[in-house]
Symmetry: C2
Subunit: 523 residues, 2 copies
C-alpha cells in the first residue's frame, strides 16, 4: 500500500459520492436492491433430518471419539492449555483425550449468541438463534470474470470484491480474503486485506487468523478503525476468525494459536472441521457428522479454556468427494443434509452455527446455480447464523468469480424475499378489489393495484422476463452475461463509506511499523 494510495483512499470517502453526482446529473436511479436489515430471521422452524435419538447417537459417538480415540493438537501452547483444563495429553504424540464431563462443561460456557459490531455499529450482525448472515466468498487463490478471464488472486481484484460486498446489503459480512492477493508478500498481506476491509467497507469480516501474529494484527487494525483499544473492544467483539481442523483429528499449531489469540482478545472464533466424506472422514454421513462434531467441539473447548464465555461458533463443512477422482463436491444431497444436521448439532449444544453456500462447477452455469441453491437452501433451513461463501464461490473454492457474486446476490435476495412473512390484513386480502373486477377481466388499473404495484413484488436485479423476441433483439444475453454488465455498474455506483482520517492514519502507522518488524519473517 503506497502513501499515495492511502491518501487517495482517505480523500475518496470525503468527496461527494459518485452516485450523488450522477443523480444530480439525472443519470438514472441506480441499481435497486433490498435495504440493509438490522437482522434477517428465518421465520420457519428449522428442517431437521435427524430425530432426537439420532442427534443423541451422534453426540454420544463424538464424545466417545474425544474420550477414547482423541485428537492431535500441535504446539506446546495448545497442549499446555488442554492439560491445565484436565485433559489427558500425550506429549509425545500430541494426542489429547477429553472426558465427556470436561467437554460438556467447557462447551456449556460458550454463549448461545453474540453480536459482531464492526466500525459502523449500524452494520452490526446478530450471530445465533434464527438469525441468518450471508458472507462474501472466502479464500480462493484465483479470481475470474468474463472480461479478464481466470487469473491468480491479486490486490486490485481483492478491492473490487470487497466493494461488491459493501455495495450489496444482502451480503452481511466479508469472507477472509475474498481472493488471496498473491501479488503481495505472504507474511504481511493479511494487513493489506484487513486495511482494505476497513477502508472500502464498514461491515464485519472474517479475519486471517492463521497464527497468533496475524490474528492480533487484524484485531489491532479493526480496533483503530473503531477508535477503540483492544481492551475496550474485548467487551464488544468486532472481529471473527475461522479455524479449520485438519481432518481427520488434527489441530495444527497455527490454527490453535490463532484461536487462542482471538479468545484472549475477546474476539469471536469459528471452529470448522474440514470433513470431506470419503477422504477426510469415512464415506457415511453419520461418520462425517460424528467426526465434524468431535473436531468442532475440540476446538470450541480450547477457546473456552482460554476465556470462558468467549464468542465461538460451531462450524460445519461436511460434504463428499467424487470417489472416482477424489475431487471435492458441494451442493450435493449429502452436503445439503449435512448443512441441516450440522445446525441440529449446534443447537444441541446451544451454539451459533456456521455453514456454507458452495458449488464445484467450473463455470457460472446451471450446475453452479443448482449446487449453490442446494447448499444455500439447506444452510438457511439449518439456521446457518454465519453462512460462508454465500456469494462468489466457484470451482470448489479455487476461484472467486465476479459474475457469481452477482448471481448469488440475486439468489440471496430471492431467498430473503421467500422468508418474508405473508400479510393477511383485510386490506391485503382485498375482497372489495376482487369484487371490483368482472369475471375474466384484469386488475392492472384498479386502485388497490395502483396503490401497491411498485412495491408488491420482489424486483430482481438480474432476472429477465421480457419475451423471447425482445430478449433476442436486446442481444440474447443469458443471466451470466447480464451479471458481467451488473458488476461493472456496481463498481461505478459503489460509494466508499466514510472513515475518520485520523483513524486511517493510525491504521497506516500501525501497518508500516508491523511490516518493518516482520520483514520477511513469520508475522
Amino acid at each position: 500500500m503506497t502513501r499515495e494510495a492511502a491518501s487517495r483512499d482517505a480523500s475518496g470517502a470525503r468527496l461527494s459520492s459518485r452516485r450523488a453526482m450522477r443523480e444530480r446529473r439525472g443519470a438514472g436511479s441506480g441499481i435497486k436492491q433490498l435495504p440493509w436489515a438490522t437482522v434477517i430471521r428465518n421465520p420457519f422452524p428449522p428442517m431437521q433430518p435427524l430425530s432426537a435419538d439420532q442427534v443423541e447417537a451422534i453426540h454420544e459417538a463424538s464424545l466417545d471419539l474425544l474420550e477414547r480415540i482423541g485428537i492431535e493438537a500441535m504446539g506446546d501452547r495448545a497442549l499446555d492449555l488442554y492439560a491445565q483444563a484436565g485433559a489427558d495429553v500425550d506429549r509425545a504424540s500430541g494426542l489429547v483425550k477429553m472426558d465427556r464431563a470436561l467437554v460438556m462443561d467447557l462447551v456449556g460456557k460458550a454463549p448461545s449468541e453474540f453480536t459482531l459490531t464492526p466500525r459502523n455499529a449500524d452494520r452490526s450482525i446478530l450471530v445465533g438463534g434464527n438469525s441468518l448472515n450471508f458472507g462474501l466468498v472466502s479464500g480462493p487463490p484465483n479470481v475470474h470474470d468474463a472480461i479478464n478471464g481466470r487469473r491468480a488472486g491479486n490486490y486490485a481484484d481483492y478491492e473490487k470484491l470487497v466493494k461488491f460486498a459493501q455495495f450489496f446489503n444482502v451480503i452481511r459480512f466479508l469472507g477472509n480474503q475474498a481472493v488471496a492477493p498473491t501479488d503481495l508478500p505472504a507474511n504481511s498481506r493479511h494487513m493489506d486485506t484487513t486495511r482494505a476491509n476497513v477502508v472500502f467497507t464498514d461491515k464485519a469480516f472474517n479475519h486471517q487468523v492463521i497464527g497468533a501474529g496475524r490474528a492480533k494484527d487484524s484485531c489491532e487494525i479493526v480496533a483503530r478503525a473503531c477508535g477503540m483499544t483492544l481492551e475496550e473492544m474485548a467487551d464488544r467483539p468486532a472481529c471473527i476468525g475461522n479455524i479449520n481442523v485438519n481432518s481427520p483429528r488434527k489441530l495444527d499449531e497455527h490454527m490453535a494459536t490463532g484461536a487462542i489469540q482471538m479468545a484472549e482478545l475477546g474476539q469471536a472464533t469459528i471452529v470448522t472441521p474440514f470433513t470431506l466424506m470419503g477422504a477426510m472422514t469415512p464415506v457415511t454421513l453419520a461418520a462425517g457428522l460424528v467426526q465434524q462434531n468431535a473436531e468442532a467441539l475440540f476446538g470450541i473447548c480450547l477457546t473456552q479454556i482460554v476465556r470462558p464465555g468467549a464468542p465461538v461458533v460451531y462450524g460445519g463443512f461436511t460434504s463428499n468427494v467424487d470417489m472416482k477422482s477424489g475431487a471435492p463436491a458441494f451442493g450435493t444431497p449429502e452436503n445439503a443434509k449435512a448443512n441441516l444436521a450440522g445446525g441440529q448439532l449446534a443447537r444441541f449444544y446451544n451454539l451459533p452455527y456456521r455453514t456454507s453456500g458452495c458449488n464445484a462447477s467450473n463455470a457460472v452455469d446451471a450446475q453452479a446455480t443448482y449446487e449453490t441453491m442446494m447448499s444455500l437452501f439447506s444452510a438457511i433451513m439449518g439456521y446457518g447464523n454465519f453462512i460462508y461463501h454465500a456469494a462468489g464461490w466457484l470451482e470448489g473454492g479455487l476461484v472467486a468469480s465476479f459474475e457469481k457474486v452477482m448471481l448469488d446476490v440475486e439468489v440471496l435476495q430471492h431467498l430473503v424475499g421467500f422468508l418474508t412473512p405473508i400479510a393477511t390484513t383485510p386490506e391485503e386480502i382485498g375482497l372489495d378489489a376482487i369484487a371490483e373486477v368482472s369475471p375474466g377481466g384484469h386488475f392492472f388499473g384498479i386502485g388497490h393495484t395502483m396503490e401497491r404495484y411498485e412495491t408488491a413484488f420482489y424486483p430482481p436485479i438480474l432476472s429477465d422476463w421480457t419475451n423471447s423476441e425482445n430478449w433476442r433483439l436486446a442481444g440474447a444475453k443469458d443471466a451470466t452475461q447480464r451479471a458481467t454488465d451488473l458488476w461493472q455498474r456496481v463498481l461505478e455506483e459503489y460509494e466508499q463509506p466514510a472513515l475518520d482520517p485520523t483513524r486511517l492514519e493510525a491504521i497506516d502507522a500501525f501497518i508500516a511499523k508491523r511490516k518493518e518488524d516482520i520483514g520477511t519473517g513469520e508475522p
Copy 2:
C-alpha cells in the same frame, strides 16, 4: 399417425431393446440414474408460511367470495349442475353463488388421496399426503434444443419428449402435451398425443380435457391400453386432467364440460385457477390466495356434484407478473410462498395438492435454474403431490426445452437424494473406521470405505467435478452443453415399454373411427 408408423411402433416394443444389444456389444453401462420408487415421500414437516389464523382468514374470505360475489360458470350443463346442488344461479349472467355450508359439504366428499394406475400398474402413483410426484412439462406451443433451435411444437419432437419422460425414473407422470404438435389437426391431435403416451411410455399422464369429447377420447384410449372398459376403469382411476379456471372468477364451458366428463368416468381432475397476481388477481399475495382458493373450490365442488368421491386435486398456480410489462414471472419469492401456502390450503380441506416447478427465463441458464429451484423447492416443501412442469419448462411455459428436461432431472434427483433419511446405525457411525486412520491421514483405502464407496453418494448425471485444467481440455462444456450430449444419449438408450399388440390395434381402430366422425369439427 400413418399405418406404417403404427406398425413400426408396435414392432419396436417386441424387438430386443437397443440397450440390450448395446450391452451385448459391451458398449458401456449406460446412464446411471435413480431407480423408480413406489412412492417418494417428503419426510420433513411441510413448510407453512401461514399461521392457522391466517389460513382461517383466507378460507373465510374465499367462502365470502363464493357466497356473496360469486363465480361465473359458462354453459348450461355446469349451470344446471350447480343449480341442482342448491347454488344460487343467475342464468342471465352465469354468476353462481354458493353458500358456505354447500361448499364445505361438497368439498368434504372428495377423497384425501387416491392412486393413479396407468397401463403398467408398477408405475402407479399415490396422490395425497406427503407423496411427491414430478411431471414432465405441460402445454408449450414451442420446442427448443441447442442443436435444432427454437421451433413450433410438432409431433416428432413430442415423441422425443415423452421418451425422455419414460426414460427417467424421477419423472413420475407426463404433462398434458409436453409440446403442442401444431403440425397435426387441432381437433384430433389429443388422440395422437394420447396414443404416443400409451405407446412410448407406461406412466400416468395428464389428459387433454378441454371439452367433454377430448376428455372421453383420451380415457377411451387409456382403457384400451389397460385392457379394460371405461366402467372397469372407473373404480381404478388411470386418467387425470387439469382444468384451469379463467381467473378472475370465470369457469369456461369447455373446462367445465371436461371436468364433468372426467368425474362421470370416475377419473381424476385437477382444478387450477390461473392466478397471476397483478393481472388476474390483486397484487397482494393474500388476495391471490383467496382468489385461487375460491376458484379452486368452485371447480372441485362441480366434480363432487357430478360424482361424490370423484378423485380431484386442489391446484395452485399463483405467481406474479412483471408490473412493468405484464409478463408472467415464476420462481419469484411470491410464487414460492404461494406454492407453500397453497399446500396449507389444500391440507385444510384434506385434498391432494398440485403445484408447479416453473421459470420465466429465455435461456437454459442460471436464471432458469434459480427460478426453477425456488419453485421446485417450495413445491416439495409445500407437499405438492402432483408437481407440474417439473422437467423441461422454459420461457414461462412458451417452450419445452430438451436441455432443460435434462437439467431438471438432475435437480429432481438431487432433491430426492436430499429427502432420503440419514442412517445412524453403529456401522454407519463407524467409530472404528474413524479410529483406524491416523490424525491427518485419509480414508480412501480402508475397508469401511471400500465396502460402501460405490453407493455412498448420489452420482450426478450432469455435474462435472473435474478440475479446471481437465475441464478445459475436455472442451470446457458448461452444464447446458453437457445436457445437449445427454439428451442424445437418452434417445439412444431409450427402450419402448411392451404393449400387447391387440390392445394397440384396438386403440388404433378407435382413433381411426373417431377421426372419421370428427372430420374437421369439434371433438
